[in-house]
Symmetry: C2
Amino acid sequence: MKKLINDPEQVVAESVEGFALAHEQVEASFDPIVVYRSQKSQKVGLVSGGGSGHEPLHAGFVGEGMLDAAVPGPVFTSPTPDPILKAAKIADSGKGVVFIVKNYTGDVLNFDTAAELAEFEGIDVRQIIVNDDVAVEDSLYTAGRRGVAGTVLVEKLAGAAAERGDDLDSVVSIAEEAVRNTRSMGVALTSCTVPHVGKPTFTLDEDEVEIGIGIHGEPGSKRIPMADADHITDQLIDPIVEDLQLSSGDRVIALVNGMGGTPSSELYIMFRRLHQRLNLEGISIERSLVGNFVTSLEMQGASITLMRVNDSMLELFDAPCNTPALRKGV
Amino acid sequence: MKKLINDPEQVVAESVEGFALAHEQVEASFDPIVVYRSQKSQKVGLVSGGGSGHEPLHAGFVGEGMLDAAVPGPVFTSPTPDPILKAAKIADSGKGVVFIVKNYTGDVLNFDTAAELAEFEGIDVRQIIVNDDVAVEDSLYTAGRRGVAGTVLVEKLAGAAAERGDDLDSVVSIAEEAVRNTRSMGVALTSCTVPHVGKPTFTLDEDEVEIGIGIHGEPGSKRIPMADADHITDQLIDPIVEDLQLSSGDRVIALVNGMGGTPSSELYIMFRRLHQRLNLEGISIERSLVGNFVTSLEMQGASITLMRVNDSMLELFDAPCNTPALRKGV
């Protein structure tokens, strides 16, 4: 294992320390680790978090127009309730807090416990479970569908709603609408290596890829022989379009997401195919994001996310945001 | 070789097609390939380019406040004079054009030829050669120092100067000042594989890294046993600080750049060390960038760039820009 790290047990703490030093939008506190906005504002608070190793998710999306606080757990491991509670307190301005939680058993349990503890302290907490991955039902760490790259779009829309002053019910309702309309699917060309484990999470032969891979390297839906980008991209598009029941006239936001070790040129080749395919079916890509948003350490691979949108959702997507990993209109 | 590509010979064309579809700031023309701003403006034109495989450089920096046009050659291969001339014509509004060229023999030759052809057509062309890599003198493809990640900072400052309406002499002078004050050094943990070659450019043992690596995998200054991030980061910082003769009271912009396959968490661990070290020496990091800016396909590794700055350089760095890969204040 070759990684640019010091002590494998200190990867998250040292990385967060560097992250907070590099970006004026955020600050970090330690023991336990929480990343939060430098400038607190009076609005519904948004908190997300989960295992580390998916950077820039979630801390990269802390800032104006998106999250108020993020809780980075150990690599690929849910944070405990303690830092989540701390984040809720930081994010609360008396108007309530929304937890945006990716659907993994550990995350759901720990955010749930933190929500109860926060309620004891008088904070009104609501929870949104993101479960956009169409690849599998009931995976290695999940009951139901996993939450993957679509989380960024949910955070963007809910964040914009909170920023313009929507109340708790409205922010929750918008986040739920975003979740309902978002689906993703990924592919892995290589595994990744968790620092404190020190060896690859799984193995893939030189001539195969895994379709429907999870962001922690959990098994996908099938392994197929290595094929060209257009063929592989089709394997990701088809289940999403089918599950969202997209048809001619529908409008979407498209996210082509790199898993960490994929050159951006390859992501754009996939976006080209996605654009061709949706164009043929009369589905309009209204906005797009291409890049590393929800990664799996240094894994080579990619995922596609589509969110069906209407005008009011597009308005929220286009609203200004100023976070380390996504900046619009400010 | 596993890559999300179709025909290896079509990687650049298909990727640029997807890139232009994904980003409203840019358009692309083909045969030969040039990427340029969607909205032309009346100012000194800025053109850069070079071999592909370093994305987002250069096309990712086309847009308001940075480049007017970029010329992506074949992977790791200089573009010919023909597309460079085409880019010069697109970028020229009668106020002259500056070519920003990384110092590789092929690039220097082809941009030089294109400059002559452009002069024949009445375009006033000046050239800036970026040679920020302190690792080696006279490398595999270079006489003198190579141009690497510092190019982004040169493009940012020169782009801001052109955008505010500086004339050709002033833009050239600012670009030259930026080059004079910028140094970089990189490290590779793994090789990369050029698509049409199909096998790794070089090999590194599981327990060694290459200090001073070039962005095409050219040999660096030494191979050392794998070490922790702080030690490796120090190996990059020391030659830069020495070469720039930085001392207490100096101010810098710091860029920690990923080579393509490095998780951003590792880049932030390096930034943490950089911050510690410069802090100890009384050198102030005034602004920073951390992420993939000048890559080598899927190579695992990173580089550090420091640019010594004064107030007027900082003002140019802070000026608004709206490009696919860097956005500030708009």
